[in-house]
C-alpha cells in the first residue's frame, strides 16, 4: 500500500515513506527524526536531508501547533473543484516541524485566530480516500 488513496488527488503512488500511510490508516500522523543529527521532518523523510543518514525513527505528531497563516481557497486546482471552498492553514509545532493542512470542515473563517492551537489528525474522505487535517485545541 502506497499513496494511491492519499488526499483528494494523489500525485505519486510510490515513495519510500509508504509507512506513513499505514500509520495514517491506524489513526496516527507521523513524522521522522534522524537518530544521528536529530533533524525532525514533516513531510517525513526516511533519509535525512541534513546528514544523509538513513538511521531515522518515526514519531507521532501529538503536540499542539500554533496557526501562523491561512487562506480560503475558492477555486480549487484540477481535481479539487468540488472540494472548494476550503481553508488551508499553516501551523508550527514544538518538534521544530511545520505542517500545511486543511482546517476541519467545522471550523469557519470567523473561528480563526492567528496563534490559535491546532492538532493534526487523520481524516477519511469520500471514495475510501484518506488525508490529515487540523482540528482546534
Amino acid at each position: 500500500m502506497g499513496f494511491e488513496n492519499f488526499g483528494t488527488v494523489s500525485f505519486t503512488a510510490e515513495a519510500k515513506v509508504a509507512d506513513f500511510i499505514t500509520q495514517l490508516e491506524a489513526g496516527k500522523v507521523m513524522a521522522t527524526r534522524c537518530r544521528k543529527c536529530g533533524g525532525s521532518y514533516f513531510p517525513p523523510k526516511v533519509d535525512c536531508p541534513k546528514c544523509l543518514s538513513s538511521d531515522v525513527e518515526w514519531f507521532e505528531v501529538k503536540s499542539q501547533g500554533k496557526l501562523t497563516s491561512y487562506t480560503v481557497v475558492n477555486y480549487g486546482p484540477s481535481g479539487f473543484e468540488n472540494d472548494a471552498p476550503y481553508i488551508l492553514a499553516l501551523a508550527k509545532f514544538d518538534d521544530g516541524i511545520q505542517i500545511l493542512a486543511r482546517l476541519s470542515r467545522g471550523i469557519t473563517e470567523k473561528d480563526i485566530k492567528i496563534g490559535m492551537n491546532l492538532t493534526v489528525h487523520p481524516v477519511k474522505l469520500a471514495d475510501n480516500r484518506i488525508a490529515y487535517e487540523f482540528i482546534k485545541g
Binding site: 499513496f3 492519499f6 488526499g7 483528494t8 488527488v9 494523489s10 500525485f11 505519486t12 515513495a15 521532518y41 513531510p43 536531508p49 501562523t68 497563516s69 491561512y70 487562506t71 480560503v72 481557497v73 475558492n74 477555486y75 480549487g76 486546482p77 484540477s78 481535481g79 479539487f80 472540494d83 472548494a84 476550503y86 488551508l88 499553516l90 511545520q98 505542517i99 500545511l100 493542512a101 486543511r102 492567528i114 488525508a131
Partner: protein, 393 residues
C-alpha cells in the same frame, strides 16, 4: 587568459498573451525581433543557444526543445545548445550560465531564449499541470494549487505583522498596469484605477483579480557576447552583466526557512552576493524589474532587496518611491502584472527592459539610468535570482 567582460547586444520578444501559436512559433517570433535589434550580427556567429522553458515537456509536448528552436530560427550552435529549467527564473538562469560560458571562453556569441505555451485546449490540463511545480505529494494532495493560496497566506502574514493595507497592495497593481498600458508586447495594455483593483473579484483573499499575474503564452530572446565582440556589433552604449546570484534554501514543500512567511531570507542572501559581485549597493540602483507575480511579492522584494526597511514596503510603494521620480522606478515595462508570465521568458523580458533602460531607449524611460537590477523568485518561493547590469563593467 583574464576573464572577459560580457554584454547584452540585442533583445526581443513576441506579443504575449493567449496565443494561437506553438512554443516554437513564438520562439521564432522572439528571435526575429531580437535579430532585428542588432542588424550587424550574423546568425552564423551564434555558437550557443540556451532555451529556458519549464513546461515545454508537458503543455507543449516538446522535450529537448533547444535543437528544435535552433532549427526554426536558422542557427547551428557549436559550443552549447541546451534547455534550462528554473521555472520562473529560467531565463535569468540562462543569462547567468551564458555569462559564465563567455567569460570562460567556452562560447562567444550566445542567444538566451525562453518561453512557455501554457494554454492548452483543455483548461483543466493547464491547472493540473501547475501541480508539477510544487510538492505535489504532500501540499498538492491537500489542494494547494500553485501559487495564489501560498501568496495569499504571505499577504495575510505581512498585513498582520506590519500593518500593510489592501490599498498598498493595490498601489503596486495601479503602477505596473499604468506602465504596461503603452507596452505593445504586454498581455494587458490597460491601466486600472485603485477602486477597480480594490473592488475586483477575489481570487484568494486578500488577493483579487488585479493582484495576480495571469497565465501567459510567450517567448523572449537576448544575445550575449564578449565586450570586444559587442564593440564590433553596436554603436549603442554597452550594457554589461556586473553581478549575479541565485540562492535556494528549501524544498518545494512548506518547510519554510525564514522566521515567518514575510521573511525572505534567501532573497537577502542572493541580494548580498549580487551587490557584492557587482560592487554596488541598493542605493546605486537606478531602475529595477522585480518579480511582481503578486502585489505582495513586490512589496516584500522592496524590503529584502534593501530598497527600504523591513516592514515598510507597503508605504514605500504607496508613497511613490518605486515609481518614476521616486527612489527607484520598479517594473517600468509593466512587470508580470501587465506583461504576463510565461515562466522561462520572464527573466529575459526583464533583462531586455533593463538593457533598453540603460541604453536610454525604453518606452517609459527612467532618467539617466546607469545601474539596473532584475529579480525573480521561482516556484513556491523556493529560489531567488538576481542580476545587476551596468553601463560600466
Amino acid at each position: 587568459m583574464a576573464d572577459r567582460n560580457v554584454c547584452i547586444v540585442g533583445a526581443g520578444m513576441d506579443r504575449w498573451g493567449v496565443r494561437e501559436a506553438s512554443i516554437v512559433d513564438m520562439a521564432q517570433e522572439a528571435a526575429k525581433d531580437c535579430f532585428d535589434d542588432v542588424p550587424a550580427l550574423k546568425k552564423e556567429d551564434i555558437d550557443g543557444l540556451l532555451f529556458a522553458s519549464s513546461y515545454c515537456g508537458r503543455s507543449a509536448f516538446q522535450v529537448n526543445a533547444a535543437p528544435v528552436v535552433a532549427e526554426r530560427i536558422g542557427i547551428q550552435p557549436t559550443s552549447i545548445c541546451t534547455r534550462v529549467d528554473t521555472l520562473c527564473a529560467g531565463g535569468s538562469s540562462g543569462i547567468i550560465m551564458a555569462t559564465g560560458l563567455i567569460k570562460a571562453g567556452l562560447a562567444d556569441v550566445v542567444m538566451v531564449a525562453g518561453g512557455e505555451k501554457l494554454y492548452t485546449p483543455q483548461r483543466w490540463e493547464t491547472y493540473y499541470s501547475e501541480m508539477a511545480s510544487i510538492d505535489h505529494d504532500w501540499d498538492g494532495a491537500q489542494g494547494m494549487g500553485l501559487p495564489p493560496p501560498f501568496f495569499s497566506m504571505t499577504a495575510q502574514d505581512h498585513m498582520k505583522r506590519y500593518g500593510t493595507t489592501k490599498e498598498q497592495l493595490s498601489a503596486v497593481s495601479v503602477k505596473n498596469r499604468r506602465n504596461g498600458a503603452n507596452n505593445p508586447k504586454a498581455q494587458f495594455q490597460k491601466a486600472v484605477t485603485i477602486e477597480e483593483v480594490i473592488n475586483a473579484r477575489a481570487v484568494v483573499p486578500p488577493l483579487g483579480l488585479f493582484d495576480c499575474t495571469p497565465i501567459t503564452d510567450g517567448c523572449a530572446a537576448v544575445i550575449l557576447v564578449s565586450e570586444d565582440k559587442a564593440k564590433e556589433l553596436t554603436d549603442r552604449p554597452l550594457v554589461y552583466v556586473r553581478g549575479t546570484a541565485q540562492a535556494s534554501l528549501h524544498s518545494m514543500s512548506m518547510n519554510w526557512p525564514g522566521e515567518d512567511l514575510s521573511d525572505w531570507v534567501h532573497l537577502r542572501t542572493a541580494a548580498k552576493k549580487a551587490f557584492e559581485r557587482a560592487r554596488v549597493s541598493p542605493e546605486d540602483v537606478d531602475v529595477a524589474q522585480t518579480h511582481d507575480c503578486f502585489t505582495i511579492s513586490e512589496i516584500i522584494e522592496m524590503e529584502d532587496l534593501g530598497f527600504c526597511k523591513k516592514g515598510e514596503g507597503g508605504a514605500f510603494v504607496e508613497s511613490g518611491q518605486s515609481d518614476f521620480g521616486g527612489k527607484v522606478p520598479v517594473n517600468t515595462d509593466g512587470g508580470l502584472l501587465s506583461c504576463g508570465h510565461p515562466f522561462g521568458a520572464t527573466g529575459i523580458r526583464q533583462a531586455m527592459e533593463i538593457f533598453f533602460q540603460l541604453q536610454g531607449r525604453a518606452i517609459n524611460q527612467a532618467k539617466d539610468a546607469k545601474i539596473g537590477l532584475t529579480h525573480n523568485l521561482s516556484g513556491l518561493n523556493v529560489e531567488h535570482t538576481i542580476l545587476i547590469y551596468g553601463r560600466e563593467p
